[in-house]
Symmetry: C2
């Protein structure tokens, strides 16, 4: 299928999934813990991933799916067309807040991000991008990121990463939050990437994110000029959990070189 | 004026102020720094405070106004009827995000919170309460807070407060963020109180807040059963800047006694 036709197909699919999620908000969720007591999954995460997969299998049998809940394919490379999906990014918010979560989806062809989607379900805001053709929130085109400086930046970072941890030297991340204008934490990587793309925050970083957390947002963020890498300044990892920073180009390199020291 | 009539008057006034703010979003702001480079004020903070004060002076000449921008009265006690107003709570978000800010207003009679308002201007959500008559978001009544436990709680706390600071022992606040389910930071005390009142977060704390940051939200939060104090477990300070915690009653005392140690 041609890219613009696929884009229309996916928008419709995402809206349908959003409808299913909104309808579920009034019902009781079945909640389970995964890797630890705060790593949660609900019946809806699973149902929405299965909803996507059944449609993809039917309509795009040659495509592969890399989904958070594991109903898709085992993905060890990005050959061909791969859908990288988080059916509900920000599950804790979904459970606890019934808002501030998103469907996140990126379509990659031989490793190149072609289409990106972040759907803020409750507010009905669909952020999306076609590679090389700009990013949008609903029908409104997002402007290229403006030049800024670190002392005027708002950074999306969870408090955890300025406390002793096994990933980075927290003494340096403490300096970071002292040197920026402010910090925020919203609890959904996908939404924080959408906020980066709209200029509401100037950088977003986390010690460990999975491909489905970032795949959709990276296509969108790239279209407005943001840079996304891991903490070694390598291309962000779309196969395995890794560190991640996406930022306004004015501050990306400065944050990485002066404030992030991987242990 | 009788309380319910005053409530209707204020709702209308707040909506008018919100309209002025929304209209300003497309215009260039005049931004100044106050106590430090990141303590910002705009022409709109000032204009909106003056808008409120001109109406209050005209229609309620016996009332006093305690406003963030200082156009109101010098307030050294809460005798009589006092309007405690933050025309734009979350000014940094207002400037940087054009969202995630609020008008915050509390009406106190001889120190007792009678009416409370938090207006999320961009999303057009008005949280409000009349003392003893429950709290609402728009027309929807907010439910009493449910019993919870610390390990299932989401806490609103800025990353700053888990780094070395002159107010509290950060070793203890680090334990707090390790023991809770998650932390969030939204950059507007008023909105974080609204989120507490709707159960989206279970506690919100900050080392230093001013009366206008909390006056409206306290009336609302109290109606759903939240407890608001300073870090010494004294009634929250409505005359001076002070520490502040508002929380679900299941966790308020535990957070204060086990995790907060004022220096």
């Amino acid at each position: 299928m041609e890219l613009h036709a696929l884009d229309l197909y996916i928008k419709s699919l995402i809206k349908e999934a959003g409808h299913l999620i909104r309808n579920s908000l009034a019902t009781e969720l079945v909640i389970e813990a995964k890797s630890n007591a705060n790593d949660l999954v609900t019946n809806m995460d699973k149902e929405i991933e299965q909803f996507f997969i059944s449609r993809i299998r039917r309509d795009f049998p040659g495509h592969r799916v890399f989904g958070e809940e594991g109903f898709g394919d085992v993905i060890e490379n990005l050959d061909g067309t791969v859908w990288i999906l988080d059916p509900i990014d920000g599950t804790m918010n979904f459970i606890h807040q019934k808002s501030n979560f998103a469907i996140s989806l990126g379509i990659y062809e031989n490793g190149i991000g072609k289409l990106g989607y972040i759907y803020d379900v409750v507010n009905d805001n669909l952020y999306h991008a076609v590679n090389g053709e700009g990013a949008y929130c609903n029908d409104e085109r997002l402007l290229p990121l403006k030049e800024t400086s670190l002392d005027k930046s708002i950074v999306g970072i969870n408090a955890t990463w300025v406390t002793p941890n096994r990933y980075i030297r927290h003494e340096d991340s403490i300096r970071l939050i002292q040197d920026v204008r402010g910090t925020r934490s919203y609890g959904s990587a996908a939404l924080e990437l959408a906020y980066l793309a709209t200029g509401r925050i100037d950088a977003y970083l986390s010690m460990r994110l999975s491909p489905w957390d970032i795949a959709g947002g990276m296509v969108i963020a790239k279209e407005v000029g943001a840079i996304a890498t891991n903490f070694k300044d390598e291309p962000a990892n779309l196969l395995k959990q890794d560190s991640f920073i996406a930022a306004n180009p004015s501050v990306h390199s400065k944050i990485l070189t002066e404030y992030i020291h991987v242990k």
